[in-house]
């Protein structure tokens, strides 16, 4: 499953965009990411930054029927299940 991640905010305030296929992760991690993403409520309102200069992550990924889904998480909402995919996407991210 392809996941596109856009990180915004932070002290620098410059967006960083990267993509990862969950197939690149170890099978167990990939399943945890997919379950977590599909479990997120679609109408979840975007949480405001928990503090100034916090990161916000906009995630785009296909839903169970292939439809495009997007959701924005505050960095405080990123848990251990989501961290591997976000970290990998950001490592190969492009600025701007």
């Amino acid at each position: 499953m392809r996941v596109r991640v856009v990180r915004r905010g932070g002290l620098a305030g410059i967006a960083l965009t990267g993509e990862v296929d969950t197939g690149e992760l170890p099978a167990e991690q990939a399943k945890a990411v997919e379950d977590r993403l599909h479990g997120l409520p679609l109408d979840k309102p975007t949480a405001p930054p928990g503090h100034p200069d916090g990161f916000q992550y906009a995630l785009e990924f296909p839903g169970p029927r292939g439809e495009s889904r997007s959701i924005t998480l505050d960095e405080s909402e990123v848990d251990d299940n989501l961290r591997p995919v976000i970290q990998k996407a950001m490592e190969r991210g492009t600025l701007g």
């Binding site: 002290l11 305030g13 960083l16 405001p48 100034p52 200069d53 990161f55």
Partner: protein, 347 residues
Amino acid sequence: MPIRQPFHCILPPDLLNRLARASDEVTRNAALDTLQLDHLFRLTRAEMASRLGGRTARPITFGRIGGKPQRTIYDQQHSTTQTPGVVMRAEGQAAVADTAVNQAYDGFGYTYNFYWTMFQRDSIDGQGLPILGMVHYGQNYDNAFWDNVRNMFFGDGDGQILTQTTAGIDVVGHELTHGVTQHEANLTYSGQSGALNESISDVFGIQVKQFALNQDVTQSDWLIGAEIVGPALKPALRSMKTPGTANPHDTQPADMDGYVQGGDVHTNSGIPNRAFYTVASTLGGHAWDAAGKIWYATLSDSALTSGAAFQDFAKLTLGNAQRIYGATSKEAQAVQAGWAAVKVPTT
């Protein structure tokens, strides 16, 4: 069974400070806990006062004289947990081997010293808030932030976008100023009030650096983050003098013609940043001689509301300049020129 801590009482902070430097760990930890707890009481009072309609609490000093920071630096050991890690350096202790620890400690000192010397402000809340620094936060974490409570977190950077974030005196000043703003106008962190919140952090962050290095307005490079950017963002994060030119990805507008609707708070902050630069450089000398005083008077002006827009802020800077220096003073004229340069009305 909880361990009884005999220091949770009315010992003056001065004695607690000395105990915090004691060699035995139990005493030291108990004293540190108490200093923090003591502060909690004051914070609670401040919170009560604000709920009762007061903007901020009256100074409640508990015998505190002020003039000295209360710093503790912790090593988070690359964890993302926000509870304090290992104590590395408490107030008054000598430098340690870890540069990040010493830079955070010194940066807090420069910031405290600037606010105390210029404005007689006793720490972030004006009431001697102990400041905790958490270094080596997260893995390759490209950020530093103030957590709205009492902690500043520092990432080590990934080496490409950012490097060790403790290295920037202006960055420490920027983050701690978010705390000052929170205790003053508490500007809402979106739209124009959010961009003002960001700009105020740059305005006082650069002055903390200029004050530490004794730079006048011509000696300063007016760059934010020059010491913490990696190769991808060289030479700096932002330029207050010429917004939009700090690095290849810098999209900050230099005046209202370039205002980005729905833009990041770090984008539109270029507009009020350049207004401050223009006022300070028009007047010459040190930024804090007049421009910094006018901006501080505005930040602590009860007429500045949390939802303020650029024009509201600009009007108040002019009003404060006229009140402090006179209606037709060169300072008031410089404020008008500064906002005119970025096309924000002051009327």
